[in-house]
C-alpha cells in the first residue's frame, strides 16, 4: 500500500549504491578469494578450505593475542571514559577545559600517536629516562621488546588515545540521568555508591552498549597502532588479527590466505558485537 507522500526509495539509492560499490561488493569479491591461493598478480586457483586449516594450524596464537588486547582495551577505555565523564560532568569550574584536554589525543592520527609513543618507549627514551631520574632505574626496560610489556603498552596507548572519546559517549549518556532522581535518592539516605549502582548505571545502559561495542570492533580490527609500535613483535608476540591479515596479504602477497583470515575476523567481530549487545541490553527492552 503506497501512501502518497511516503518517503520514496530513491532517497536510499545513492547511499546504498555507494556502499555496495565501494564496500560490500569488493568485500564479497575479496571473500571469494579466501577460498583460493590468489597472489594478487596471477590467476587464482581454488583451494577450498585449505587457507582456513592453515590458519588454525599456524596462526591461532594471533587470536589469543587479539582477545587479550581486546579485553585490556575494552575494559580500560570504558572505565577511563566513564571515570572521566563522572568526574567532569558537573560542578568543576574548569571542566570544559579539562574535557578538551583529554580529547586532544583522540583527534590525532593513530599513526602519529604510535610514532610518539614508540619514541617515548624506546630503550633510551623519555620513559626510561624518567625512571632513572627518580631512582627507579632498575625498572627501566625495553618496553617494546618483551611480549608482556609490549602488549600492555599497546593497550595503554590505545586507552590514552581514546579515553576522551569514550568520555564524550558517557557524558552524553549521563545527560539522561535526571538530577531529581539522584537528589531524591540522596534525601532518602542512599550513599554515593548506592546512587551510582542503582540509578546511574542502569540509565547509562545505552551508552555502555555503544561504548563497549565500538571499542570491541576497534580492538579486533586493531592495526595502525600495533604496526607502528611493535610491528607485531617481538617475534609475533603482539600480532593481532588486523596486523596478521595485513602482513599476509600485503607484505607476503598471499591475498587468498589473508582474505580467509579477514573473513574469520569479520565473523569474530560480528559474534563479539552480538554477544555484547545481548548481554548488555539484558532483559529490559
Amino acid at each position: 500500500m503506497k501512501r502518497p507522500g511516503a518517503v520514496p526509495w530513491l532517497f536510499v539509492v545513492p547511499a546504498a549504491a555507494l556502499t555496495l560499490l565501494i564496500l560490500l561488493v569488493p568485500s564479497l569479491v575479496g571473500a571469494a578469494y579466501a577460498f583460493t591461493d590468489w597472489d594478487g598478480l596471477t590467476s587464482p586457483s581454488w583451494v577450498g578450505l585449505a587457507n582456513f586449516t592453515e590458519f588454525f594450524d599456524d596462526g591461532s596464537h594471533v587470536v589469543g593475542q587479539t582477545l587479550i588486547l581486546a579485553g585490556l582495551y575494552v575494559v580500560g577505555v570504558n572505565a577511563a571514559g566513564l571515570g572521566l565523564a563522572l568526574g567532569l560532568a558537573h560542578t568543576l569550574r574548569t571542566r570544559h577545559v579539562l574535557r578538551a584536554l583529554f580529547l586532544v589525543p583522540a583527534v590525532v592520527s593513530p599513526l602519529v600517536v604510535a610514532y610518539i609513543w614508540t619514541f617515548i618507549l624506546d630503550v633510551d627514551g623519555p620513559l626510561n629516562e624518567i625512571l632513572e631520574a627518580v631512582g627507579l632505574g632498575s625498572s627501566a626496560q625495553p618496553w617494546l621488546g618483551q611480549r608482556n610489556t609490549a602488549l600492555a603498552a599497546v593497550a595503554i596507548v590505545m586507552v590514552w588515545q581514546f579515553a576522551g572519546y569514550h568520555m564524550l559517549i558517557y557524558l552524553a549518556g549521563l545527560q539522561g540521568v535526571q538530577r531529581e532522581l539522584l537528589e531524591a535518592a540522596e534525601v532518602d539516605g542512599a550513599g554515593p555508591w548506592r546512587r551510582f549502582a542503582d540509578i546511574t548505571l542502569p540509565l547509562l545502559r545505552p551508552a555502555l552498549v555503544i561504548g563497549t561495542v565500538l571499542s570491541t570492533i576497534s580492538a579486533f580490527l586493531l592495526f595502525d597502532q600495533v604496526m607502528a609500535l611493535t610491528g607485531g613483535g617481538p617475534s609475533g608476540g603482539t600480532d593481532t588479527l588486523g596486523t596478521y591479515v595485513y602482513e599476509q596479504t600485503f607484505v607476503n602477497g598471499r591475498y587468498g590466505y589473508g582474505s580467509a583470515v579477514a573473513l574469520l575476523l569479520v565473523g569474530g567481530v560480528c559474534l563479539a558485537a552480538l554477544v555484547q549487545m545481548r548481554l548488555l541490553r539484558g532483559r529490559r527492552s
Binding site: 520514496p8 526509495w9 530513491l10 539509492v13 549504491a17 560499490l21 591461493d37 597472489d39 594478487g40 598478480l41 596471477t42 614508540t118 618507549l121 624506546d122 630503550v123 633510551d124 627514551g125 626496560q141 625495553p142 618496553w143 617494546l144 621488546g145 618483551q146 609490549a150 607502528a228 611493535t230 610491528g231 607485531g232 613483535g233 617481538p234 617475534s235 609475533g236 602482513e247 600485503f250 607484505v251 607476503n252 602477497g253 598471499r254
Partner: protein
C-alpha cells in the same frame, strides 16, 4: 515516468557507464609518456630524476614521469599496480627473492619483460646474474650494490678474528658500553644482518653453492652444519655481551643514537645504510670493515651483491619505451652512480672501486671474490626472513636454541614465491 522509474533509469545508466569503463584497463602512461616508478630515497633529486631529464633531452618526442612511493610501501604499490593492470613502464625494485615484488618473484610469475637482448646484459658477473634473472634469462638491470660489514667511528679498534671479537665484547661490557648496537625491534629488521654476516663464514666458506642447493630443496637449514654453527655463534656473541641487555626492544633509531653517542662501538650493517648512522652523528666520520666471522682469515667472507634493479613490466602494450629508458640509464650508469653516491652493481671494465670510499677495507674481499651471496636473495618465501629475525630475537631473550630457529625457517620454506 514516475520518480521510481527515473531513479532506476539513472542507476542503470550509471552501472552501464562503469561497466564500459571497466572494459578498458588503463595502463599507466600512454603514447609518448614513460612512467618510471621508484621509491623515495629521501632526496629531491635522485639519479632517476636526472636520468629522466637527460632522456627527455635526448628524445624530444617522449616525456618521462617519475612516480615516487614511500620506501617501505614501494614494493607493495608495485604489486598492486601490476595486479590491477596499471603497470608503470619501468620500475625500481629489489633484486633476487626475499620479499614479494622483487625481481625474481615477479619474473617467476611472468610479469617482467626479458631484457636479455640489452647491450649490458652480456657482461653480468656470475654473482649478479642469479639475482636479476635465473641464470639464463635477464629481467633487471642491476643498479646499486651492497656489502655487509661492521660500521664504526673512524679510529675504533675493530676486531680481526672471531675470538678477539668475543673478547672485545666482554671488554666493552666491562667499560659499561655495548660492543654491537643491535635493533631487535620488529620494525628495525636488523638481526638477520648479523645472521648473514656469521653464515657467510660458516656456510659459504665450505659450500659456495649452498644457496642454489637450498633452492632445489637438496638441503635444509636445520640439517646444515654451517647454519647451525652460524646461529650458535650468534648465541655465543649474546653470551659474551656483544649486544647489550636491551637489544630486543631497541628500535633502529635508538641503535643509531647509541652508535652516535658512543654508547655502542660498532654495528653490523649493509653499506647502503650509512646515512642512518651519519644522521645520528653528523660530525663523526664512519668507516666500515669486514665482519670477522671466523678465526681463520681464509674463511672470512663478505656478503655482497646487487641490491636494487630496474625492471620493465611485461604489459599488453609495448615494452619498448621502458627498455629504451633502462638501456639509456645503463649507458650512463657511472655518472648516475656518482649522483647517488653509490657503487654501481655492474663494475666498469676499467675496474672502478667495488666498495664506497668509507668501506675501503672491504674492497680486497670484493675484488678477489671472497664474498658470499646476500642470503635472502635466494629465499622465495617472504615469511622466511621474518622467521629468521624472530628466531634471533628469541635467542637474544634466551627463549630459543639454534635448532629451533632453523627448524622454524625450514617449516615455512618454499622454493617458489607465494
Amino acid at each position: 515516468m514516475n520518480i521510481r522509474g527515473r531513479a532506476l533509469g539513472c542507476a542503470a545508466v550509471a552501472v552501464a557507464l562503469l561497466a564500459a569503463a571497466a572494459g578498458c584497463g588503463a595502463d599507466a602512461g600512454g603514447d609518448g609518456e614513460i612512467v618510471v616508478s621508484v621509491w623515495d630515497d629521501g632526496r629531491e633529486e635522485s639519479s632517476i630524476d636526472v636520468a629522466a631529464r637527460d632522456f627527455e633531452k635526448a628524445h624530444p618526442d617522449l616525456t618521462v614521469t617519475v612516480q615516487k612511493n614511500p620506501f617501505d610501501q614501494h614494493l607493495q604499490a608495485l604489486r598492486r599496480q601490476l595486479g590491477a593492470g596499471r603497470a608503470p613502464d619501468v620500475a625500481m625494485t629489489v633484486v633476487g627473492y626475499g620479499e614479494s615484488g622483487t625481481v625474481r618473484a615477479l619474473a617467476d610469475k611472468g610479469l617482467l619483460a626479458d631484457l636479455g637482448e640489452s647491450p649490458w646484459a652480456g657482461r653480468l658477473p656470475d654473482t649478479v646474474a642469479g639475482a636479476v634473472g635465473d641464470g639464463s634469462e635477464v629481467y633487471a638491470f642491476p643498479v646499486d650494490s651492497m656489502a655487509i660489514g661492521i660500521v664504526a667511528k673512524k679510529g675504533t679498534d675493530v676486531p680481526g678474528t672471531y675470538t678477539s671479537m668475543l673478547t672485545a665484547c666482554r671488554d666493552a661490557g666491562r667499560d659499561g658500553k655495548t660492543a654491537f648496537a643491535l635493533g631487535g625491534h620488529e620494525n628495525s629488521k636488523m638481526p638477520h644482518i648479523v645472521g648473514f654476516a656469521l653464515a657467510a663464514s660458516t656456510v659459504y666458506a665450505d659450500d659456495p653453492g649452498y644457496g642454489d642447493k637450498r633452492l632445489r630443496d637438496e638441503v635444509t637449514f636445520a640439517g646444515s652444519d654451517g647454519w647451525e654453527q652460524a646461529v650458535a655463534r650468534f648465541g655465543e656473541m649474546r653470551d659474551a655481551g656483544c649486544f647489550g641487555e636491551n637489544a630486543a626492544g631497541t628500535t633502529r633509531e635508538a641503535t643509531a643514537r647509541a652508535l652516535g653517542d658512543g654508547d655502542a662501538l660498532m654495528a653490523v650493517t649493509p653499506t647502503v645504510t650509512l646515512p642512518l648512522w651519519q644522521a645520528a652523528a653528523p660530525d663523526a666520520e664512519f668507516v666500515m670493515a669486514p665482519f670477522p666471522g671466523d678465526d681463520d682469515p681464509d674463511r672470512v667472507l663478505v656478503p655482497a651483491g646487487a641490491s636494487s634493479g630496474l625492471v620493465v613490466p611485461a604489459k599488453a602494450s609495448d615494452a619498448g619505451p621502458g627498455k629504451q629508458f633502462v638501456d639509456f640509464y645503463a649507458k650512463h650508469r657511472a655518472r648516475y652512480a656518482e649522483i647517488d653516491g653509490a657503487v654501481p652493481a655492474l663494475p666498469d671494465d676499467g675496474g672502478g672501486p667495488r666498495a664506497p670510499g668509507y668501506a675501503a677495507a672491504l674492497e680486497p674481499y670484493l675484488r678477489d671474490g671472497r664474498t658470499a651471496p646476500i642470503m635472502d636473495q635466494q629465499w622465495p618465501n617472504p615469511e622466511l626472513i621474518a622467521r629468521f629475525d624472530s628466531g634471533l630475537v628469541e635467542m637474544l631473550t634466551g627463549r630459543a636454541e639454534p635448532a629451533d630457529v632453523l627448524e622454524s625457517m625450514d617449516a615455512v620454506w618454499t622454493s617458489e614465491a607465494p
